[in-house]
């Protein structure tokens, strides 16, 4: 995939030039920063909303997002078992700012998780969803910048995560009653 390699070179070519940019990208690319920040966003969303109806809508978004994450991760594992793509640093000289991951490059785990979360929120809450999509885009771009994914991996991850989130959102007729039960339990504990 020439376009993939060409785009990778364009983005990864910026790595190693400015220590400040490299440092910022290292903070974004690691497994802890953005994933934790996005999860904290879900905690905030759970409590967001003046009035019961608004809050309940946001809480349904959070439950749907958790479900999307679980489903996207399952599909990701399935993809990894049937297809293996080597990382860019295995086949080419790259500016690597991260450790050497050993799992398949395609689809990108980070993009799958990030976009499953972001699209799930965006479909029901555009305002909050925009922030999550921005975070997912940053997460995916940082993976390319630091040399651990091809752009195609990130695109595939985004399609997988976003697709799962979209497909599940179309099943709200079946899922909403389940969410209502979960919310009722939480409400009894004064937590919803």
């Amino acid at each position: 995939m020439d376009w993939d390699w060409a785009l990778f070179q364009l983005i990864n070519g910026w790595a190693g030039r400015w220590p400040l940019l490299d440092g910022a990208m290292r903070l974004l690319v690691n497994d802890y920063g953005l994933t934790t920040a996005m999860s904290l966003g879900l905690v905030a969303l759970w409590l967001e909303g003046r009035g019961r109806a608004k809050r309940e809508r946001n809480q349904q978004v959070v439950l749907m997002t958790i479900l999307s994450l679980l489903a996207a991760n399952l599909l990701l594992k399935l993809c990894n078992t049937i297809y293996f793509r080597p990382r860019p640093f295995h086949a080419h000289p790259v500016n690597l700012l991260f450790y050497h991951p050993t799992d398949s490059s395609l689809p990108s785990n980070a993009a799958t998780v990030g976009f499953a979360l972001a699209v799930s929120v965006w479909l029901r809450n555009r305002g909050a969803g925009l922030g999550f999509i921005l975070a997912a885009l940053l997460f995916g771009s940082a993976r390319i910048f630091c040399g651990v994914h091809y752009p195609g991996d990130v695109l595939a991850g985004a399609l997988l995560g976003g697709g799962v989130a979209y497909a599940l959102s179309r099943q709200s007729r079946w899922l909403d009653p389940l969410f209502d039960i979960a919310l009722d339990i939480a409400r009894r504990m004064c937590l919803a």
Partner: protein
């Protein structure tokens, strides 16, 4: 199977999740005005909550990146991160709810005692009365608190009504001369509970300061159901006001809204009491007695978040001034009560 790589890394990440989650809870406690989640009891300006929350979040991330080795080498995988984040969130919730319970503002006992007025204790009722200075005849009100609350909790409303020129009698749910209730430490059951408001009205009627034609009743929570029943049966009641009456045995569960003005443990107790009183709510059936109330000023203050079980006619319905429960210590609720009584009695 989960592989946490190193105990230090896992513990550091757990700490990051817990502390940053406490930060998020503090920001949302300030933003949504949730006293039950606020580590400083919701006192002071909201920006304190935002500042403290940001400090928790930034501090926890800075500490994690500064003092945790192995962040940029292969470490925790997605499932481990998810488990640790869930554990950290639960830890943060427990710490926040416990801390907020300790920090929750306590009722100002001294102020309440100053507001309590004079004690009334007869074989039929027990409570407090506020009588204004000056000569009568004066309009009078009989106040019934929420089930399980004491008449002393209505001190602020009573004192306010006194300043407006009303005689205000706040009655306790537990009767002074009721050996069964005193022995059990419990509250009157149906139909004994129906005697509470008539006893209060009767007491007021025998006071020389009171104008017999201007007696009103005010009830909070289940006390509201009691005054609706009393207003349907007693022609001498000139006006009735029910603040957040129960009306149906299974009222809308306020859930998180309970934490707006009480700590988590107070909310748990409130729920338990609400459950216990549901049998009495069903027996009182205030909703069925509403149409039987003769034409007279009738107001219901209802929490805006919870819909009424049926459309009601012949009763003025206003939202509670603040989307909190109709606590009699709420200044805005007391103000609405005062204004309405001045207009209608």
């Amino acid at each position: 199977m989960l592989n946490f790589v190193s105990a230090r890394l896992a513990l550091s990440y757990l700490l990051l999740c817990a502390l940053s989650c406490i930060g998020v809870l503090q920001i949302q406690a300030a933003r949504q005005r949730l006293v039950g989640l606020s580590l400083w009891g919701g006192r002071g300006a909201r920006w304190w909550g935002y500042a403290a929350g940001l400090l928790f979040i930034i501090g926890s991330f800075a500490g994690f990146y500064a003092f945790t080795p192995g962040i940029f080498v292969p470490g925790l995988a997605g499932s481990e991160l998810a488990v640790l984040f869930a554990a950290g969130s639960i830890l943060a919730l427990v710490v926040t709810l416990t801390g907020a319970s300790l920090a929750a503002p306590r009722p100002d006992r001294a102020a309440m005692e100053a507001d309590e007025g004079e004690v009334v204790a007869t074989p039929q009722l027990r409570g407090w009365i506020h009588i204004p200075q000056g000569s009568g005849p004066l309009p009078a009100l009989c106040l019934v608190p929420e089930m399980g609350s004491s008449a002393g909790d209505l001190g602020m409303v009573g004192a306010r009504l006194r300043t407006l020129g009303f005689v205000a009698l706040s009655i306790d749910w537990m009767k002074a001369g009721d050996p069964w209730a005193q022995a059990q430490g419990t509250l009157p059951r149906y139909p004994d509970a129906l005697a509470l408001v008539p006893a209060g009205v009767n007491y007021l009627l025998h006071l020389p300061e009171v104008d017999e034609g201007r007696i009103g009743v005010i009830g909070f929570g289940l006390g509201g159901d009691l005054v609706l029943r009393a207003a349907a049966a007693d022609e001498q009641i000139a006006a009735a006001l029910a603040v957040s009456p129960c009306l149906t045995p299974e009222p809308c569960d306020p859930g998180l809204d309970l934490l707006r003005n009480r700590s988590f443990w107070q909310a748990v107790r409130w729920r338990r009491r609400r459950k216990a009183q549901s049998a009495l709510v069903e027996q009182l059936n205030g909703l069925a007695f509403l149409p039987r109330i003769p034409p007279r000023p009738l107001l219901m203050l209802h929490p805006p978040g919870s819909p009424l079980p049926v459309p009601l006619t012949g009763v003025e319905i206003r939202p509670l001034p603040d989307p909190q429960m109709g606590l009699p210590r709420d200044q805005e609720v007391a103000q609405v009560i005062g204004c309405w009584c001045e207009e209608n009695l």
